[in-house]
Amino acid sequence: MKTTAIPIHNGESVPVSRVPVLPVEELRQRVIGAVKEGAEIAALFAEPSAGATRSAGGFQLFAVLIDHSQGALRALSARLTDSWPSITPECPSAHLFEREIAEQWNLAVPGHPWLKPLRFSPAMSGAREAAAAGRTQPGDAQFFRVEGEEVHEVAVGPVHAGVIEPGHFRFQCHGETVLHLEISLGYQHRGVEQALLGGPDKRSIHYAETLAGDTTVGHATAHCEAMEALCGREAPPRAQALRAIALELERIANHVGDLGALAGDVGFLPTSSWCGRIRGDVLNMSALICGSRFGRGLARPGGVAFDVDDRMVGELKDRIRAGARDAAGACGLLWTTPSVLARFEGTGALSPRTALEIGLTGPAARACGVDRDCRSDLPSGIWRFSHVPVSTWRTGDVFARAYVRWLEVQRSFAFIEDQLGSLPAGDIRVQLPRPARGALGVSLVEGWRGAICHVIITDSEGRFGRYKVIDPSFRNWFGLALAMRGQPISDFPLCNKSFNLSYCGHDL
């Protein structure tokens, strides 16, 4: 009989014992089959089996899939001894997840087409032979090489030209044309997943807030919702609305900032200059609510730490209207200026098929016509009651990634204004009891880069036995690499900015 994975709603938890344990081959086929039928891999990770000591014994491999047809998540698992036969050849979106599994636990992943270090990080404590494995400098690995007398290689980073995080980019070029780009990260690895183990404690929320600093509200909300799932409590409606307002402010600030930076990259200074200021105006709205331009200190397990009064709501409404008007003026110029469009259109295009195959998420996927957005597909919190239309475009190029962001900016402004006009009354925070024991809690939040996934598995005392974070950048970096194929290398900054992915969110 086929074991059915129980549906888990976003922001719910289930006892780990209820996650089906399948034979390895069956799990492989189930994941491959589900993804072929339109499911998305939200998480794929290994964990030493319950009962097994961390240094000896088997592993349990967990797959959390997004079932779009049901608007639910499905968790499946299998027990492994020391290897997981790769599904990447049949299911390319598993590519990085499998590299991570191999690196974190020294597990063999036979059949993987490009198995090499992902973050150049040591194995999780207790992984077999962890201590024996020597440490490699990040980037010190074999890169995919194109051979040929006329082919040359360009190496960039980890320290780049701008005020930006470190990463290494290796281009294979024929003249100006990029044949292949390989991206090697790990320089920002702080060991946050490892540090979260044993929690929740007073540092947990701060780790969440700094997983990716430009996505503070997104990750903090994902952490809070996962905690609330494990504790069986919901944040009060007013807190849910305030979190959503902050999440949309974060989206607007980053999208507007990036539209300005894209304009700057093609030498179009009016939009570039204006957007720099407008981004600041939006960050200052977050600071009005909680004192921090990045929304630090706002979302807390059980609700939010800051309330707004009528005067503040009025002030925010005025600023939102002014911001929407200014952004329309500044960004609108992009779509009517031929010199900008000539640089945006057709640059770094990805097909819808590629987007689905490699598991792109967020605006990068929606720019390829992929109609996916956690806010509408897996609504949790206030998103169950208030809806934002999903913004898509079809061309998958720099233009599409820019234009989808602009569509989202407008809808976020409208959403915030709407929420401010109908804020639920009541408390802003509830006290959470201890997290359930031996439970698996999942939360997915549509951050400005795409789906943020937090999976927490609690141990027999209700402490974090495993904390898995999947930042949308983890799923999208390979998209940038593919977008560069066949492009002039001089278009790299433009393509890169159109994705604007997080290094620290990937490196953890």
Binding site: K202, H206, G276, G280, A287
Partner: protein, 240 residues
Amino acid sequence: MRFPRGEPPALPARFRGLPVLDSSRCVDGCSECVAACPTGALSFTSRTGLKLDLGKCLFCGECEAACKRGAVSFTNDYRLAARERRDLLIGDGRKLRLAESLGRDLERLLGRSLRLRQVSAGGCSGCEADANVLTTVGWDMGRFGIQFVASPRHADGLLVTGPVTKNMRLALEKTWEAVPEPKILIASGACAISGGPYIDLPEVYNGVAGVLPVDLFVPGCPPHPLTLLDGLLRLIGRVR
């Protein structure tokens, strides 16, 4: 923006700047604020009273929320940068000693033209984001001759963010070596000063001072653009 000749831009009422400690409000050394601090920035003994290390402080406000008597409160004062690590330790009677300039010789060299190479060495990119803000038209850091440059060889110093991860140490050291003498180093944000939220994790070095010599410490998580600009201007003697 008229700053620094005129008033700085207004900060929101809830902005958490320089904290003020008042141990006389502590009852029986309750230390609830100390227990609430996520990074161990606060300490209390009956002899010394409350002490706060601004270099470790995330300005999260958990201490202020934990104290019912107002022994810890955050003010709107954005001025936080110091030249010495020990100057960041404040208490009842011990005020923050704000940064002094680099001195006459370096002021002559760098006072009207300071080129910085920024290096992220771990961290969350929040510090980078608010450092970048200083280059936008509103702040226009270029009017002081301060500029972020693409190559360390074009730079007079480094602005380092992040706790210095093991994976980034070599690249940071090489970048520092590439900066010609005389050169300065600025540690911006709690991570670069002390490790910040990642303090004592096995993958980080608890800040840049353990790896390279630091000339200016700018607290914050991340530092507000105004805090960073104030620190830079103090360093080159444009604000005293």
